[in-house]
């Protein structure tokens, strides 16, 4: 069956995709620029069709703990918010990671710190990829660049999250949340039945239902020896994720002399700059990490032997650049260009930044 192509905002695509994935519950609190997720769900009333629960919580704190409660019963549950709200959720996210529960968290980033601005930003890269809450844990972090990816990453995020029993995050920005473009929504699939959940999530607190041992979802362990074992188990999971789930996309890398590394919608701005530059004979390639954690470090290391330098472009003061530098082990120069406070650079600005970093060398390419 040919799927109908629709035109919608990234935030709306998240809501549609969640229902079609067979998501069991969404818990959220309004905050710009992602309120359309909750608004769209309330308008679509999935409780009448798939039975999905949608609830506007009293706070982001309550919402993430509802996600924790739902995930603890083996259900596919999610929340979405924007930067200040995601800060509030960090405690709950740490508990979800520690209790080894699957869940999907969407952050449509706005400028910070503090109350900041409602305009687009990527300044929560550190928070998303390095932990965010307390303790040693990671989220699987997916960075969509298109409305299509906003829709697709709902399913991908849930699947990975259940596969590894660890929370996943869609780290979007105000641009891809608010912009409209064409999208083909995923095929609808039914929500899992109680029997399927019992089979796939034998660990879940569903009520004993004849089970001899009770299931307890907890992150607490006061004995250091046992707590270290719990930590080692988490680290083992993270190692498997790093080995198997790195995702990225490359553009014009084959003959590139320089590389721009950018994620999310910023990568698209860079792509236009690169295409304009290539028309003038400057050979720049683009690497767009799709998973920000795990980060495509191996690929960057590999590329570093073929290229002269890297520019990272981010809507922040320079966060992902740290991972890029670690990946290339200081073998080639790595520079950062970023705008903050909700300002989005246009392709011309990116090109100027590139010229400022590699001006002389890139002029040689013209010869």
């Amino acid at each position: 069956m040919a799927e109908e192509i629709k035109l919608m905002k990234g935030n709306e695509a998240i809501a549609h995709a969640a229902i079609r994935y067979g998501c069991d519950g969404y818990f959220g609190y309004p905050i710009t620029p992602q309120s359309e997720v909750l608004e769209t769900l309330e308008e679509l009333m999935p409780w009448e069709t798939t039975g999905m629960v949608v609830l506007q919580a009293e706070s982001e704190v309550a919402a993430i703990n509802m996600v924790y409660g739902g995930a603890a019963t083996g259900k596919a549950v999610m929340t979405s918010s924007s930067s200040p709200g995601v800060s509030l959720k960090q405690e709950g996210i740490s508990y979800i990671a520690a209790a080894e529960l699957p869940a999907l968290i969407v952050n449509v980033m706005r400028g910070g710190p503090g109350l900041g601005t409602i305009q687009p930003s990527q300044a929560d890269y550190f928070q998303a990829t390095k932990g965010g809450g307390h303790g040693d844990y990671h989220l699987i972090v997916l960075a969509p660049a298109t409305v299509q990816e906003m829709a697709d990453f709902v399913g991908l995020g849930f699947d990975l999250s259940f596969k590894y029993r660890t929370p996943a995050m869609i780290l979007a920005d105000g641009i891809v949340g608010q912009m409209m473009e064409k999208v083909v929504l995923p095929e609808p699939r039914p929500r899992r039945t109680a029997e399927e959940i019992a089979e796939q999530c034998p660990w879940a607190a569903t009520g004993k239902h004849g089970r001899k041992e009770r299931n307890v979802m907890t992150s607490l362990e006061l004995e250091p020896d046992k707590m270290e074992v719990n930590n080692l188990r988490l680290q083992e999971t993270y190692k498997r994720i790093e080995e198997n789930e790195v995702r990225y996309k490359e553009y014009h890398v084959e003959d590139a002399e320089y590389l721009i590394v950018a994620f999310g919608s910023v990568a698209r701005i860079c792509l236009k700059a690169i295409e304009d530059a290539r028309a003038r004979g400057i050979k720049i390639g683009l690497l767009r990490p799709i998973t920000l954690w795990p980060f495509p470090s191996d690929r960057l290391k590999e590329l570093s032997s073929k290229i002269k330098g890297i520019l990272t472009v981010e809507l922040n003061a320079g966060q992902m650049i740290e991972d890029v530098k670690l990946a290339v082990e200081c073998k080639i120069p790595v520079y950062h260009f970023g705008r903050m406070g909700g300002i989005v650079p246009n392709p011309g600005e990116v090109m100027n930044a590139f010229n400022n970093c590699f001006g002389e060398a890139s002029n040689n390419s013209d010869l």
């Binding site: 509802m66 924790y68 009520g207 009770r214």
Partner: protein, 253 residues
């Protein structure tokens, strides 16, 4: 009567409830938690809820409640049990979900979650242990600490001008349209225990019948935190706590 007669099955007048497992609890001797655990375990068994119940444990003295009562449990972050229970119940309406929370968890750090879950009328039971002190962390002031009561963080007695007033959380919850049953009980005498168990049964019946939120407050002792013997703690509770927190149903519809 010989000792053999005494250990005969027919002579048993008291035994460990089936769902209260063999693990030694970490509660101090004399603490009300033990008795409340016992009647909770008895009720879950008597009402046939072993397979359906999901408990949500708090942060506080009852943090390890999940270790002692043999049903499925979710350990919540401090204060968030009502939010956790909200989702667990909404996504699993055929289950019976209860929270077990202390005064710090339910009436300080988790006030928002408590009030909003009750205001939404979530079909859950909230078990509220009010002993007017933070037992787990070593006897600090609770939101329900009485005026003049000495704690580690109010060493000269709680002062209204500095610390505000003891909060009557059940009274607040009884005002909300979402609650169907709010009661205040104690477990300091056999008669009180029987009454408390009956109240708790009503609360679970409400959850099963989906009548809204039920709150069972237990005015409780913390003999370690209060620095009293178990017997003296019971006396102190009756003499001081019941005036501020009078026992009985605040709401029953």
């Amino acid at each position: 009567m010989t000792s053999e007669d005494i250990i005969k099955n027919g002579s048993v007048v008291y035994s460990r409830p089936r769902l209260l497992n063999e693990r030694n609890t970490h509660y101090c001797p004399g603490c009300s938690h033990g008795v409340v655990h016992r009647i909770l375990a008895e009720l879950l068994d008597e009402m046939g809820l072993e397979d359906k119940a999901i408990g949500v444990a708090p942060v506080g003295c009852a943090v390890f409640a999940y270790n002692y009562i043999d049903v499925d449990w979710i350990e919540a972050a401090h204060g968030r049990a009502p939010a956790v229970a909200t989702a667990a119940n909404r996504l699993n309406p055929e289950n019976v979900v209860f929270t077990y929370q202390g005064d710090g968890d339910l009436a300080a750090i988790g006030t928002a979650e408590t009030i909003h879950a009750a205001n939404r009328g979530e079909n859950i039971v909230m078990i509220f242990i009010n002993n007017a002190i933070y037992g787990m962390t070593g006897g600090q002031m609770a939101p329900t600490t009485l005026l003049g009561q000495k704690t580690a963080t109010s060493p000269y007695g709680r002062r209204a001008d500095i610390n505000g007033f003891p909060i009557k959380m059940s009274d607040i919850l009884a005002q909300l349209d979402g609650t169907c049953y709010v009661t205040r009980q104690a477990v300091h005498t056999p008669a009180a225990v029987r009454k408390a168990k009956k109240a708790l049964r009503t609360a679970f019946e409400n959850a099963i019948a989906k009548r809204g939120t039920s709150v069972v407050e237990f005015v409780s002792t913390c003999n370690s935190g209060w620095k009293l013997s178990p017997a003296k703690a019971n006396e102190w509770m009756a003499a001081n706590m019941f005036e501020k927190y009078p026992l009985g149903d605040l709401k029953s519809i």
